[in-house]
């Protein structure tokens, strides 16, 4: 009995090591995916986020043509890195709307002046409420919205140059 007790800590410890090792080598999956993928957008109405763009409401996103909804902020560094890809998508004829998170109109204007403006409409989500409702947890994030106003795909993080063809495919699939 005593002998067993003496070796028990080592056995327990080895079990822990096994557990740690399995945790360590498991694919790292800490990204929060929206539960709304495949569902209609939640209803929202947002005031205009930039001085030369109109406001944004969820109803305006079900137009029969798939489009992108980009979540960004003027204070977000990866958003600036993402800007050229969004411009390229716009050149390719994609309609892009945006929600600016925790932002001020003047800052957004400055951001668009500096990095270009690929957006048709920009809504200002000053308290991230719509962002939360969408199931988005950070900036930048991009949603592919199908013609009926349903979320077809959620892209977490910035769109890199090599993501562009994939985004175009997703848009075509959402037709």
């Amino acid at each position: 009995m005593r002998k067993l007790l003496i070796w028990l800590p080592l056995v327990l410890f080895l079990a822990f090591i096994g557990l740690f090792a399995s945790g360590l080598f498991q694919p790292d999956d800490r990204i929060i995916h929206s539960r709304l993928v495949g569902h209609p957008l939640p209803a929202f109405t947002l005031p205009a986020g930039a001085s030369d763009r109109s406001s944004l409401a969820s109803a305006q996103l079900a137009t029969g043509k798939p489009r992108l909804l980009n979540i960004f902020a003027s204070w977000c560094v990866p958003c600036a890195a993402e800007a050229p890809q969004l411009m390229a998508l716009k050149q390719a004829g994609v309609e892009i709307d945006a929600i600016a998170i925790r932002d001020a109109r003047l800052d957004v204007d400055g951001f668009l002046k500096r990095y270009g403006n690929p957006y048709a409409r920009i809504g200002l989500d000053a308290r991230s409420e719509v962002q939360m409702a969408l199931g988005s947890s950070g900036v930048p994030e991009t949603f592919v919205i199908d013609g009926k106003g349903r979320i077809a795909y959620q892209h977490i993080g910035d769109i890199r140059a090599d993501d562009v063809p994939m985004i175009l495919d997703r848009l075509r699939d959402a037709q």
């Binding site: 003496i6 360590l24 000053a126």
Partner: protein
């Protein structure tokens, strides 16, 4: 040049650690005293070299040398000097170098000052310490070189996480590290004693000051960390059961058990196997904590360096050292004789009860911390939050508090239950009175745990003073004073926790400048909101005039914005009064010029940290009390020789 010198010092120190290990091993194996004679100088030189390497890294940070990768990624030339300084260990590589430095310096201290241990056990201990250090040197030199250069150097660094830009956090990690690594000394002692089969009272007396010192520093570190989280994160809580918090709590629980068990071994020569086991567990918990924080396998608000390759390195070290120590324990402990026997009603039994309760709490915290990992291994994702820990650990902690009150009133070896009962009469009466009073005034307003917490805190507070009863206070040994103060500190902390969870008043409002808010007897007048610029931040500051029937005081909650990296932190305004704290956080602008304000009145919340400081003070007094005699004797011996 500085960076290269630092790296060279680190390599040299690693080589010396290897030498130290080989010398100790070969010397003990072959019984060659001439080899053993070189172990102590090697340990001292190794300690000095690590200190030099660390000092050089600090220099690089203070000079904002952006050609060093670590400085460029964790510092910024615009930063105030204190945070450049603290930036040295506010990152993965720097904190690992701090770890190795503390270990090296502690090893040097063991080599220089340890006199009570038998020579062979002493040498085995130093060999063990060198073996542990070697693993960490390898980790630094092969996978996390803090002195790596970057070419071309960036003009400015990326900055330090603004949450960490706080004087409290500048000194919280070094304090904790001193504690963690102090436990590595206890671990090495245990290894040394197992190797030379010298687990006895003399060994325990030699180990005790190291355990005490480590425990005092851990206590201070945890207390400081808890207060930092309380005022810096702006959520008004003082304990989150976050994996990083648990990583420091678990070694503390084990060290507390070890501290008591080593006293039993030193005074009564009992609990030999148990003491060695706890010494192994205490340091293991430090390492497991470090691993959990560094490997990124658990998500936490302030874990950093998410990196599986480094994680596997630490995991390998963990398996090697802890697994090795536990195997050595299994192999050798059978040959260690049982210690002195004791009766059921005795101080020893009470200390065993204390040890068991602490171990159970440790187990609960460990399981709660690792549970998400276990379920993930089976494909489910869960998170374990405060309710689990509070509900399960809470009642056991309260039981532990009762044991803490009873223990010192029981005699060593054997006692009579009736006599103990008599000594407990006064605390029992206090408990009864408090319960009646609380029942009359607060029943229904507090939950059951806070209610019990308050009752137990007050009676334990009374009982913890009982060992001083009818004694000449001037002639009472410092060690006894230490115990009394530390136990009183536990009661004080518990009272603070119970008051906070039972009587806190919270109010969330949206207010415009000029508005007046009433809550918990306080009147808060929102005077104005204005922008403010600091060293490397800008802020919006609310000026608020608050009073509670006296002279109004101005307080200034802020919302701070740091530009690199871009982050917003909220600086809560705290107004401390003797009976509690007013805690105000400025939130976002809502609409039409109104601002969110979160206001808490927290009665007696400061007792939590006051208690923590008392516990550490008690430990420090006990340390001085135990050691002073030895120092005096040594000093006198030195004088008579000269």
């Amino acid at each position: 040049m500085i960076a290269e010198t630092g790296l060279a010092a680190l390599w040299l120190a690693a080589a010396l650690a290897l030498l130290q290990l080989v010398l100790a091993f070969a010397g003990l194996r072959g019984g060659k005293p001439e080899l053993l004679a070189a172990v102590r100088p090697a340990a001292v030189a190794q300690g000095v070299l690590t200190a030099i390497a660390f000092a050089l890294l600090i220099t690089l940070f203070l000079r904002s040398d952006m050609s060093v990768l670590l400085v460029a990624t964790n510092s910024h030339s615009m930063k105030p000097w204190l945070y450049k300084f603290a930036g040295t260990w506010g990152n993965h590589e720097g904190s690992m170098l701090l770890w190795v430095t503390v270990m090296g310096v502690a090893g040097a201290a063991v080599a220089l000052f340890e006199r009570a241990l038998r020579r062979d056990t002493h040498m085995a201990t130093l060999g063990g310490q060198a073996a542990i250090s070697l693993g960490f040197y390898a980790f630094l030199l092969f996978s996390s070189n803090p002195f790596a250069r970057i070419d071309p150097p960036p003009p400015d660094g990326q900055g330090l996480n603004p949450l960490l830009q706080d004087p409290g956090l500048a000194f919280h990690p070094p304090t904790l590290y001193l504690g963690y690594v102090g436990l590595s000394v206890a671990f090495s002692f245990a290894i040394g004693a197992l190797l030379t089969r010298q687990v006895d009272a003399a060994f325990a007396r030699a180990m005790r000051p190291w355990v005490l010192a480590a425990w005092v520093l851990l206590t201070l570190g945890i207390t400081a960390g808890s207060y930092w989280a309380y005022y810096e994160l702006g959520w008004g809580g003082w304990w989150f059961w976050d994996p990083v918090e648990n990583a420091s709590l678990m070694p503390w629980l084990a060290a507390t058990a070890l501290l008591h068990s080593v006293t039993v071994l030193a005074t009564r020569d009992a609990l030999r196997a148990w003491t060695v086991m706890l010494a192994v567990i205490a340091f293991s918990m430090s390492m497991v904590g470090t691993f959990l924080v560094r490997s990124g396998i658990l998500t936490s608000v302030h874990a950093f360096a998410v990196d599986p390759s480094r994680g596997s390195f630490i995991l390998a070290l963990l398996a090697l050292y802890i697994g090795g120590a536990l195997a050595l324990f299994g192999w050798r402990i059978g040959s260690v004789r049982e210690g002195a026997p004791f009766e059921l009603v005795s101080r020893e039994t009470m200390l065993v009860v204390n040890n068991l309760l602490l171990s159970v709490i440790l187990g609960i915290v460990l399981i709660g911390t690792l549970y998400p990992l276990m379920t993930e291994a089976f494909g489910h994702k869960v998170s374990v939050g405060a309710p689990y820990f509070d509900r399960i650990a809470g009642p056991i902690a309260l039981t532990l508090m009762i044991a803490l009150a009873v223990g010192p009133l029981v005699r060593w070896r054997r006692d009579r239950a009736a006599a103990v009962g008599k000594r407990l009469l006064v605390p029992a009466i206090i408990a009864l009175l408090v319960s009646v009073l609380l029942f009359a005034f607060a029943w229904g307003r507090t939950g059951i745990l806070p209610f019990l917490g308050l009752v137990i805190a007050l009676s334990v507070g009374g009982a913890s003073m009982a060992p001083l009863w009818k004694r000449n206070l001037l002639r009472t040994p410092l060690f006894t004073w230490g115990m009394v103060i530390a136990h009183l500190g536990c009661a004080v902390s518990l009272a603070g926790m119970a008051c906070d969870s039972a009587f806190t008043v919270e109010k969330l409002v949206a207010a415009r400048p000029g508005d007046t808010i009433q809550t918990a007897g306080w009147t808060l007048r929102f005077v104005q909101i204005r922008p403010l610029a600091g060293d490397n931040w800008t802020a919006l500051q609310a000026d608020m005039q608050v009073d509670r029937g006296g002279t109004p005081v101005l307080i200034h909650p802020q919302s701070r914005f740091f530009s690199s990296p871009p982050t917003t932190t909220s600086e809560a305004a705290l107004l401390t009064r003797w009976n509690g704290q007013l805690y105000v956080v400025l939130g976002d602008e809502v609409e039409d010029g109104r601002w969110q304000l979160r206001i808490w009145w927290k009665p007696f919340v400061t007792l939590i940290w006051l208690g923590g400081v008392l516990i550490a003070l008690g430990g420090a007094l006990a340390l001085v009390g135990r050691e002073r005699r030895g120092w005096l004797l040594k000093w006198r011996a030195g004088r008579s020789e000269a």
